[in-house]
Amino acid sequence: MFNYHFDWAVVTSGQYAQWLLSGIKVTVELSVAAIILSFLLGLIIAVMRMSHVKPILWFAHAYLEFFRNTPLLVQIFFWYFGSYKILPKVVNDWLNTTNFEFSAAVIALTIYTSAFIAEDIRSGVRAIPKEQMEAAQSSGFSYLRSMYYIILPQAVRLTIPPLINQFLNLTKNSSLAMTIGVAELTYQARQVESYTFKGFEAFTAATLVYLALSVVITWMVTLYNKHVLNPLGVR
């Protein structure tokens, strides 16, 4: 280590810097796509988990437990290598016209994260007094409508800090997509390492990018907690 020759120019300019930049772009695309989809799916699962119809409740329960207690890497492999046998032919054909590595990574990240998001939304909903639901239903709203108009708008406000945490986790987890050949940041850092043997520089650059993302997002959550959830500073 001590006679290692540092060469930061490798990662700050030229072709290899281009690789890292394109890696950042793919990481952001992957994360944004999975964040939007996993939020929608998580919302649906959360509502199903609180349903009074037993089969729907059981399905949501099984979904949550199964996908939370299985490694993301295995889920990525399942969707990338194994999904062709269980998906309908139409879907397979459509997926093959897209960039399949990318799509499989989005599917796996979405399903994995949606299970965590659903739990966060559910705890947000449970923090809303149940009299609100009773009042909404007794004034003629159906279950879904009282959820949509009364409960969820309040719950989502409470749920935003843990949700953003999950999105941050998702962004970090998107590094696993490199195992199926999605050229995101970690993949490109490793690529630079194997072309130049400058592992320290390449991984330092990638680490700093992930850190910057985390710091900015954590800071935003702190601001949100301070100014929106608790503007008066009540403890």
């Binding site: 290692y4 046998k85 970690t186 992930y210 850190l211 985390s214």
Partner: protein, 234 residues
């Protein structure tokens, strides 16, 4: 037309899934997954305790330095930590390459210690201030206060969170695949590559194995949570 599912491939390779190539080679499969998780759990318990105590130190410099380290580790993906260990450990050992198992254990320990330290910190913060004040006023040294009064109570409240962290750890051992450690996920990709046409069955099967192990511990954590809460109420 989709080809049908054929689970006989699981049955044919069952010992391979459990112990890898064991009598003829290094141990692998589920046994190695659990071994990595247990060793890293024990190491990161002590790592987390140490970092957690440093985080609540009364010395401002120590506190900020530790928090900076902890938040840095929490801000990057585990895969990054594994790569750092993969390239850093050999350099630190003077050019000798470290065994892959220890690369992974080191990475998991560092990564999980950072998360455990947050649990420890929250546990210590959860003990009422009066306990510390009472212990100090009876003449105990700050260290004795921590070891005999605060920690025993705090640790008990932390047990469910520790079990949850262990579940994450079991899931995280699958990343050992990337540096070629033959734990369950790696064994599964090997079998899948060898048999060519059964990836669906194989990855579904190992997902179920991980699920059974992790769900058992998740349930244990929930049970502990209600049980410990009940005892505390007396």
């Amino acid at each position: 037309m989709n080809p049908g599912l054929d689970f006989s491939v699981i049955w044919d390779n069952l010992t391979h899934f459990f112990i890898g190539t064991y009598p003829n080679g290094p141990i692998g499969g589920i046994v190695l997954t659990l071994y990595l998780a247990f060793v890293a759990l024990i190491l990161s318990f002590f790592g987390g305790l140490l970092l957690g105590l440093l985080c609540v130190s009364s010395n401002r410099f120590i506190r900020f330095a530790t928090l900076a380290v902890v938040n840095t580790i929490r801000g990057i993906p585990l895969l990054m930590v594994i790569f750092w260990m993969f390239y850093l450990l050999p350099a630190l050992l003077g050019g000798h390459s470290a065994p892959e198992n220890w690369t992974v254990i080191a990475a998991l320990t560092i990564f999980t210690s950072a998360y455990m330290s947050q649990i420890v910190q929250a546990g210590i913060d959860g003990i009422p201030r009066g306990q510390t004040e009472a212990a100090l006023s009876t003449g105990l040294h700050p260290w004795q206060t921590m070891v005999y009064v605060v920690l025993p109570q705090a640790l008990r409240n932390m047990i469910p969170s520790f079990v949850n962290q262990f579940v994450s750890m079991i899931k995280d051992t699958s990343l050992a695949f990337i540096v070629g450690v033959s734990e369950l996920t790696h064994v599964a990709t090997q079998i899948s590559n060898r048999t060519m046409v059964y990836p669906t069955e194989i990855f579904f099967f190992i997902a179920c194995i991980y699920f059974v192990i992790c769900f058992a511990f998740t349930s244990l954590s929930r049970w502990l949570e209600t049980r410990l809460a009940w005892r505390k109420a007396i």
